[in-house]
Subunit: 386 residues, 2 copies
């Protein structure tokens, strides 16, 4: 097992009716900026519940944060934070709204001239403006971690940021929100969480037996609940399992003491930047291709995953590993998620060069758990995903 | 899944050499009381490492905290804290030293006349004196939770306490400490951690699929590493798995959203009070007996545990459940832990009456996940364990 540090101070309020309890987590004298997205919270009852819970506070609203939260729009929110002397942020939404709020938490206390530097340099956030979240879309895990990804429309860039100052102080996880989520987003959420686990697991054996088993537990649970939640979003128990899996997939627990990959995300982000394909779907496109390309260095873990998650007990390591990749693709297909880039766009042929050139231009010369995936490998991995 | 709140702010520093990093976690102006037990840290190299790391601080030492930390001895430490104006506590030891330190953390800021009231009433600790830990004996999980159990020798009482103010600020987990732990304590640690999981798992199905699987993961890992760690404590990888399992077994994660039992501990505590049997061994005595006595209400989970942890795939629910209890006993036996009270003491016949009378006298009329275990049931459960 590798040495590690672990600290996750976010308080989780999980279950039916927990939105009503959020006020006890916010200081009584706070001036709150409530941030949300395209307005779905106004039709599913969440908006009313949050407004009722915030009754004791002075609240300003900022809606319209888009999927893949855009720097340009967030800068408008930052101006309001400064002008109105906001002291507390409340994100009500999915990963995009929460990630955008994390950027604002950092930028609100940032003293440099250009907030984009937080992403471009990048600058680690030791202390941010305090914030909480009300999660409306399980997927990214942002509700219980300290990372965010922000998009700059003008330059087609999508960059990460983070630091110990960016954990939400609290997050409300009420599985009842799931019944009004569109099918497409449910499928994306399962795919996103599943791939988060893969990024922290599909590397090489590192003798972290419990972390491996917990990763396998999350994947087994997602596979178990997927058919039910895709059919019946009103099943509260299954919605609860889905929501908690998404949080546990990226709250830091399973990445401690083990090597991690994250090259699927790095490459996937470029496909979103170029084609605006949903984040989760870019992961489903890249992961199988990447695991085939890096088969030799990942085959032991692929075989372990085959045995424990997919119950493939016979065959050589190579045979099990090959079947595991096929099972993963089939799982994505069962969610109506396509796994080839050409199924999403007719102009797919420019993707390999675009992704590898962009990674090269940023000086990211190596990705993956062995730091051996170079721009030319990215070219081939994307090409294999056509 | 049941509603839950979860927050665990303890920072874990895990791995070789991490003791050297503890000073960066303690405020520079702190006056530190370093607490330890019988002195084993002076022969295994931990004492020297801690003293070296604490070089920047004014430090007073308090050794001699016994297993099952005793109120009478802790009151001597409390007098030093007040006289010397201590501002930070550092526990260097196993669960007993850490639990004793938690009591002191609470008592140091307690304004009532009688610190025993913290346990007797009990009083929830919202804020304690800040403290960290250096774990030398994996078992109780106290290094990453906010609970403690304290013994009062004069009255043979063993009571629990807790509250959000009692999480360690940090805990150093260096698996290298394990090589100097006596075999008996290794066996106790495995048994203690395994039973902690059982208390949070062996109830009834509550549709918390991920929590179940994580509980099973911890038990599977303990079973997998037990033969190796019992034979070779210098195997760092296996020592790491053992140490992390013990922490994860009782850091709150697996108890969220599910019913919990804890009657094995409640009854076991009385056996320690009466006979001074090691805490872990009292759990191994009581658990099989309790699961047989409450067979009907626990058989579904016993059968699930049989299938997933012990790989028992055939038979009825009852057959699997019965085998699962036998497998659990065999596992304890494989650690050289005896599971019958008469194997520990000749005067075992007074135990049933003692335990049930003591539970009755404290007004604890009901134990277990259904609150249906009454003093007369305790009598029978203990009697079945003779």
């Amino acid at each position: 097992m590798l040495n590690f540090e672990f600290k996750n101070p976010t308080k989780i309020l999980f279950g039916k009716g927990q939105i009503a309890n959020l006020a006890k987590e916010i200081p009584t004298n706070a001036k709150v900026l409530m941030l949300y997205g395209g307005g779905s919270i106004k039709t599913n009852g969440v908006y009313e519940q949050v407004i009722a819970a915030l009754a004791p506070y002075e609240v300003i609203e900022f809606g319209g944060i888009p999927a893949n939260p855009e720097y340009e729009i967030l800068m408008d929110a930052l101006a309001i934070i400064k002008k109105e002397k906001i002291t507390y942020l409340l994100a009500v939404g999915g990963g995009s709204v929460i990630d955008g709020t994390k950027f604002l938490s950092s930028a609100a206390l940032y003293e440099g001239a250009e907030p984009w530097d937080i992403l471009a340099k990048p600058i680690r956030t030791e202390k941010g403006m305090p914030f909480g979240t009300v999660l409306t879309l399980p997927a990214t895990g942002s509700e219980m971690n300290s990372g965010a990804v922000i998009t700059r429309r003008s330059t087609q860039e999508k960059l990460g940021m983070g630091g110990p100052g960016l954990f939400p102080q609290f997050s409300v996880l009420d599985p009842e929100v799931i019944q009004s989520i569109p099918d497409r987003q449910i499928a994306n959420g399962i795919t996103d969480a599943f791939t988060h686990v893969l990024e922290q697991y599909m590397t090489y054996p590192a003798h972290a037996l419990l972390q491996d088993r917990i990763s396998e537990s999350i994947m087994q649970t997602l596979i178990e609940i997927a058919p039910t939640i895709m059919k019946d979003k009103t099943n509260y128990d299954v919605a609860s399992d889905f929501m908690w899996c998404c949080t546990m997939a990226l709250n830091g627990m399973i990445q401690k003491g083990v090597p991690t990959d994250w090259s699927v995300h790095a490459i996937g982000h470029e496909l979103t930047a170029l084609y605006n394909i949903d984040h989760a779907r870019t992961l489903a496109i890249i992961a199988p291709s990447l695991y085939r390309y890096k088969f030799n260095s990942k085959k032991e873990k692929l075989a372990q995953y085959a045995e424990r998650v997919w119950n493939i007990k016979t065959g050589t390591v190579e045979e099990k590993a090959t079947l595991a990749i096929e099972k993963t693709e089939s799982f994505f297909h069962s969610l109506h998620i396509k796994t080839k880039l050409s199924e999403y766009t007719e102009s797919y042929e420019k993707a390999a060069a675009f992704a590898s050139e962009r990674l090269k231009s940023r000086g990211w010369v190596a990705l993956g758990e062995h730091k051996d995936i170079k721009p030319e490998d990215v070219f081939k991995i994307v090409e294999m995903a056509y």
